[in-house]
Amino acid sequence: MSQPEVLNQAFELGYTYTRSTGPVIGRFLTELRNRNIVGIKASDGRVVVPPMEYDPNTAEALSEFVEVGQQGEIVSFAWVKEPREAHPMDVPFAWAMIKLDGADVPMIHCVAAVSEDAVATGARVQAVWADETIGYITDIRCFELV
């Protein structure tokens, strides 16, 4: 019996998917491109950002858009001291659940900060826009502390 050598090789599994958005996500991304943030009213009246297409509680299709603020409050955060290659930032940053002004449900995005100590639950943050907005979630480059 021959001895198996351990054969290792790096490879990349990848594809650039073409995603059609449908009207709800499309509206949100269109607004992002225009540097606005909109949410959607759920059946119980709560404003959800980014807008969901379907209500989690009633399963109804949602359609009532509500413009929300570009500032909000950190509901929770996680401090990434060693960003991964795929992460949107290459220096230490925080992931946060952010409740935007006028929204009732927090969204998840990244927050730029100099150190973990600078971030806190309840801290105010503001959206920072990408230099060029294209209609993608990364049009919000990150949030920064106010």
Partner: protein, 352 residues
Amino acid sequence: MKEIAIVGFQQSDSVSDAGAVNEVEMIMPVLSRVFQQVGINNAQDVGFVCSGSCDYLQGAAFAFVAGVDALGAVPPIKESHVEMDAAWALYESILKIRMGHADSALIYGFGKSSPGELPIVMSQQLDPYYLAPLWVDSISLAALQARLMLDQGLITEGDMAEVVSRSRRNAMNNPHAQLAGDVAPDDVLAQEMYLSPLRKADICPVSDGASAMIIATVEKAKEWGMPYAIISGIDHCIETHNLGMRDLTDSVSTRTAAKRAGMDAGKVDVAELYAPFSHQEIILTRALGLADDTLINPSGGVLAGNLMMASGLSRIGEVFNRIVSGEVQCGIAHATSGPCLQHNLVTVLEKA
């Protein structure tokens, strides 16, 4: 409704890198042990086979197809496959037995997570428009969840460290464990933060391996003459994908599943919970209303080794092992899938 008996369970060691083994080579040794345990030859001797695996762990489409090569599926067999976790393959198998189309089933799960960057791979199970493009990894999401609990005073870092310490110590009696040792809570707290508020010890390791189970009707189990445990209830439940709309400090779907599975919190000698993060064990313990005298994760749980796609099945197997050894009378096992405990399955087991 037909009573279901578990008659055999085997698992591989949890290892950080299984090296030069492909799917079939990973599965075969575990299958041959479980066949031996029950005294059968191969998958021909059971009525149904169902497995759980995820292509993206090793980065190959239809990786599970190779799994069929481990079964001895000539002549052809009744066979199916799920993602989620092999615990759901068990669920599918129970449906098959209860409808009378099988009297027994082999269930197995396998995962070779080491080739990829697992937390990043799992980011691609999130909403493909809002979250996946940000590459929010699974550890970061769990960290957000932990912070909510800490901020609300629902847990302390000490509570989390207690979970880790108990896992490491329990795992010393688990020959398959990847991480074990006499670790005190203070030792854990002395570690630096990794992804604050999580320390590395709060996070399950990345593991390669497989596990397998054989179930049967009680009549068939008696015919085989093997010691068995009864699955007296099994149910599962999923919650909204929107993490902001869930109470992340609780697991409503776990509670719902447990209720529908007929769990009686006062009658649980042992509970094996699929909690990939220390704080999630506390969430689950509370959601299930487990009493103080319930033995929780005596195997060390998945903090001692997490075979993605098999760990949920292994939780059930661990409870089975303790029941047939006579150590306990009854127990529950929990399995999970999705970010921050989105999808949960609860199995209630009893001594035959």
